[in-house]
Structure formats: structure tokens, C-alpha cells
């Protein structure tokens, strides 16, 4: 069984890996670092300060954009997670004949280029004269959030197997009780991490929000993009850093909840 080839011993692997990591994370590091810049340039370091965070926080437009982002992300997450949970149960526990095609259908938003989704959504909404303001954005976000939310939920359902649900049925639990007393409690870590994933994806979305949103529904990423066009100050960095921190925190929570556990 012993193989002589060990990819970990490839010459130059260490430096190469280090280079890639630098390439990936240096921009992020610079961005975060300059959000603490005391000066007003994003390229010249002038000492440490929290002032740009204070300025960003005091900016009424940023506040509004942040609020929009939160409303959209929270609503889309709630809707997408509920739909994804039932869809996952249908795919994993329902007739296997339909599981394949439907799973592909649900995963499609992950594969279709976002710009295509954005354009078609925009055209579709205007052709049916749907002008619900921020709700338009919520609907658009919900659709692609379902795909993300479903991944951890489905994985957990599959990992659980149907043994415990069968045991509950055997112990006189009607279908609704099986769901409430066994499936849901055991599935909850998957549901929470699915929700967090959906929230992060929605919060960070730019293309769809920029296309489908209008003047009153600018989200934070869209606003930050606008700021850059008006000239970059560390205020942009500060706003981005906050967005980054929230995303990382939530992604960390999702990871933690879905960590593999050594239970039988």
C-alpha cells in the first residue's frame, strides 16, 4: 500500500504555497490596514486611528445602505432557509426518481453567471410590472440563497441517515411529530449554518443588487462601489472592513456549527 510518490515532497511546494497565500490575502490585508490610517490617502500611511470608522458610521448614506443590506439579507435568509429545508428533506427522503433533476434545478443559480441571472430577473420583474421596492431585491436574493442554504442542510440530512426517523415512527410518532421531535432538532445545526451561509452571500452580493435595486434600495456593496468612483478615502476601507468582519464572523459560526463530530 506504500506509495513512493508523495505530493507533499514536491520541490518548491512551500515557497509556491506561500506566494499564492500572499497573492490571495495581501490585498485584503492592505485594505484592512489602511482603514486604520490616520491620513486621508489610501496609499500613504500616516499613523493609527479609528477616525474613518467614526466617519463611515456617521455617514447617513452608509447607514441607510447598511440597513438595506441587513433587511434584504435577513428577509432573503429567512425565506431561503425555510424553502431550502423542505426542499432538502424532499430531495433526501422523497422518491429517489425525482431527486436528481430537482437537485440540479436547485443548484442552477450557482452555475449560471450572476450577470445573466441579474439581467433576466430585472427584465422579468419589469415585464410583469413588479415594483415592490426592496421586496424585489429580497425575492431576487432568496432565489440564489436557496442554493447556498441547501448545501449544509442536505449534507447533514444525508449524514444523519433515516435510522432515527424510523425509530421515531416505530415508537408511535406520526409524521408531523417525527419532523418536530427528531428531524428538526437533529437538523438544526445544518439549518443554522445554511442560514448563515445564505446571509453572508446575500450581504456580499453586488451584481444582482446593483441591477435589480433602484435609488432607494442601495445596499452596502453597491454604495461602496459608488464611493470608489467618487474617489477613494479610507472611509471605503472602513466600510469594507466592517463588511468583511461581519462575513468572516458569520462564516466562522457556520463552520463551527457544522464541524464534524465523533458521534456514532
Amino acid at each position: 500500500m506504500k506509495s513512493h510518490f508523495d505530493w507533499r515532497k514536491t520541490p518548491g511546494l512551500g515557497p509556491y504555497t506561500a506566494l499564492i497565500l500572499v497573492f490571495l490575502y495581501a490585498p485584503l490585508f492592505v485594505l484592512v490596514a489602511y482603514s486604520f490610517n490616520a491620513g486621508s490617502l489610501v496609499t500613504v500611511w500616516a499613523g493609527f486611528s479609528f477616525q474613518w470608522f467614526a466617519i463611515a458610521a456617521a455617514n447617513g448614506d452608509i447607514q441607510e445602505a447598511a440597513l438595506n443590506s441587513l433587511i434584504v439579507a435577513a428577509s432573503a435568509t429567512a425565506l431561503a432557509t425555510i424553502i431550502a429545508t423542505f426542499a432538502a428533506i424532499g430531495l433526501e427522503r422523497g422518491p429517489s426518481r425525482w431527486a436528481g433533476p430537482f437537485a440540479a434545478l436547485f443548484a442552477l443559480p450557482l452555475l449560471v453567471p450572476e450577470i445573466v441571472t441579474a439581467v433576466t430577473t430585472l427584465v422579468f420583474f419589469s415585464s410583469i410590472h413588479l415594483r415592490w421596492g426592496i421586496s424585489n431585491l429580497v425575492i431576487a436574493h432568496t432565489v440564489f440563497c436557496i442554493a447556498f442554504a441547501m448545501m449544509p442542510i442536505r449534507a447533514r440530512l444525508r449524514g444523519m441517515g433515516d435510522q432515527l426517523e424510523n425509530a421515531a415512527r416505530d415508537l408511535y410518532a406520526p409524521p408531523i411529530k417525527v419532523f418536530l421531535r427528531v428531524t428538526l432538532p437533529l437538523l438544526s445545526p445544518g439549518i443554522v449554518s445554511g442560514a448563515v451561509l445564505a446571509f453572508v452571500v446575500s450581504l456580499d452580493d453586488f451584481v444582482l443588487s446593483a441591477m435589480v435595486g433602484d435609488a432607494g434600495t442601495t445596499t452596502l456593496p453597491v454604495y461602496v462601489y459608488g464611493m470608489i468612483r467618487r474617489g477613494i478615502t479610507p472611509e471605503v476601507n472602513a466600510a469594507s472592513t466592517i463588511l468583511l468582519a461581519v462575513s468572516l464572523l458569520l462564516a466562522g459560526i457556520a463552520q463551527y456549527l457544522n464541524r464534524p463530530r465523533n458521534s456514532a
Binding site: L164, N166, A167, R169, L171, Y172, A173, P174, R181, L186
Partner: protein, 344 residues
Amino acid sequence: MASGTDGSGQVDSILELSKITLRFGATTALDDVNINIRAGEFFTLLGPSGCGKTSLLRLLAGLQIPTSGHIRLDGQDITGVPPHRRPVNTVFQSYALFPHLTVARNVAFGLEMLRWQAAAIQKRIPEVLSLVGLSSYGERRTEQLSGGQQQRVALARALAPRPRVLLLDEPMSALDLKLRKETQQELKRLHREAGITFVLVTHDQEEALTLSDRIAVMKDGRVRQIGSPEVIYREPSDTFVADFIGEANLIQASALGRAGVAGLVMVRPEDIAIAPESDAARVRGTISDMRFLGGTVELTVVTDAGNAIRTRSAGAAAVLNHGQAVGRRVGLVWPDRAERVLEG
């Protein structure tokens, strides 16, 4: 109570399976199975891996619907009744304890679903936990228990609602030998005390012989024989059963010089005695192997016709000179009642 002939014990049968067939696509898991299980008996489904034991148990629990055939419980057709409406509980092969509930809450689950009064549930929990010797474990989480303890929780949980029938799917296969023996005795005691019909699935013939009132031997989705352990052991219906239960010598009738008898003659190793070659031995041959098994000695004798016959006895060592057995010529004898002629 349950020895003697089997067959249509219509009078006191609690579970009747008639003409059960179960197919998964092209695979036939169960093929025309007919079994009557009597009220209060310890019934065992025995057979090699993949013969359909678990499938049959799932049908009884209602987790699976047969492709055709009928299941009756207390005379009522329950073939399509969902599991939560059947007074039948299962001890699953992997125990399937709810990891998010304590031991006591696991035990209470079935009772809560049946809407027992809270007071009755609180009374029943310690009752069943003490029945399986886990009185002080009520507040533990199931993950903190050993395999043997988890198995007993699964038993307690299934016994708590006082089902009409308790189904057990290889409940002891995950336990080590010593624990398995102890648990077998426990099961026997629980069966006596609970007065419930037990249906056990196992592929361990010794376990089946020790525990059961009656055994159904299965192969490839079919029932080959149903009977008490004595009947199954003494009067196997075919060579598969003879070979699967205990050890059997299967000798061509022609090799024994039986004119007009077709098929195989079965003799158990312990029924065969070593005799001097000159005697009126049934067959003669040469000892090719000798194994000392503690209480008994196992000899393999190759007959002049070329059959290898195994014998096992406590007395053989005395007949032979110690250690000098291999290579000696001997005769083999056995009483008429020890042999059984089986279809080839």
C-alpha cells in the same frame, strides 16, 4: 411450551405472514414467505447475511410494505398500516437512540407519543430502566454510554410501551463475546418477565439455538424450515439447514452401501463413535487429523470411499493411544436414530 410440530398454529398465533414477497427492482429480498408466530413465544429468524432477515423485520414494523402478501396481527390485516399505528416496537441493529435526548427521555418517547399521562410515564421510566439494570442512568446522555449500555437503553425504550411484539435486529452483534453471552441470558429473562412475543433476527446459529422457542431458517429470501431448536438440529429438512445449524457430516448414501437410497446421509459429529476396525463398523477409514478441544477431541477420518468424516467425543481419547491417533485405521459407528437421509 413450543416444541412439537409446527405448521398452521392458527389457534394462538399472534402474527401471521402469508405469501409475503418483497422486491427491490430486480432483487427479490423475500420470496413467498409464510410464517405463523405464536403469542408469547421467542421466535428467531436465522440465516446468512443478505437472506432477507432485516427486510422481514422491517415489514413487521411497518417500515416497509411488501410487494405482495399479507401480514395479520391478532387476526387483523396490518399489511399497509403505518409503523406508528402498530403495537410493535423494534430494537434496531445500530440501536438508533436519539442523541439529543437523555436516557430517560429516550425511554419516554414512545409513551409520550401514545399520550400516556405524565404521572404514568414518570412511573414507567424507572420500571423499565431497572428491568435492564440501568436505574441510575436516567439523566445521562446516550453518547456517554458504552455499547452494551446503549443496547440496554434501546431494549428499555422498545419495551416501555408494552408492545404486543418486540422485534430485535441482531441486537448483540456489536457486543464482545462475554457481553453477548450475558446479554443472551438477560434477553431470556426479559422475555419471561415481560410476557411479550419476541422476534429475534440473528445469523448466529448458537444464539438461535440457545434462546428460541422456534426458529425459521432462511436462505435467499425463502424460509427453508421452521421448528423448535431440537427439530431443526435433529431433523433438518435439507442439506443447507443441516450444514448451517451446528456441524454436519453429509455422506453419499451410496458410499455407505445403501442400495436404493438416493441423496445424502447426515450424521452429527458428536453421534459418531470410534470403534475397532474389525468390528461391525458402518464405515472404515484412516484418521487424518486430531484436534484437542479441551473437553472433547475432534477426529477427522478419511473413509476408504474418500469421504472426510468428523467425529467429536469425550471418550475418543481413551480409546486411542495419546498422540498416536493420526494414521491409525479405525471403524466408525453410530445409532440408526442419529442419521437422517436428505435429498441431495
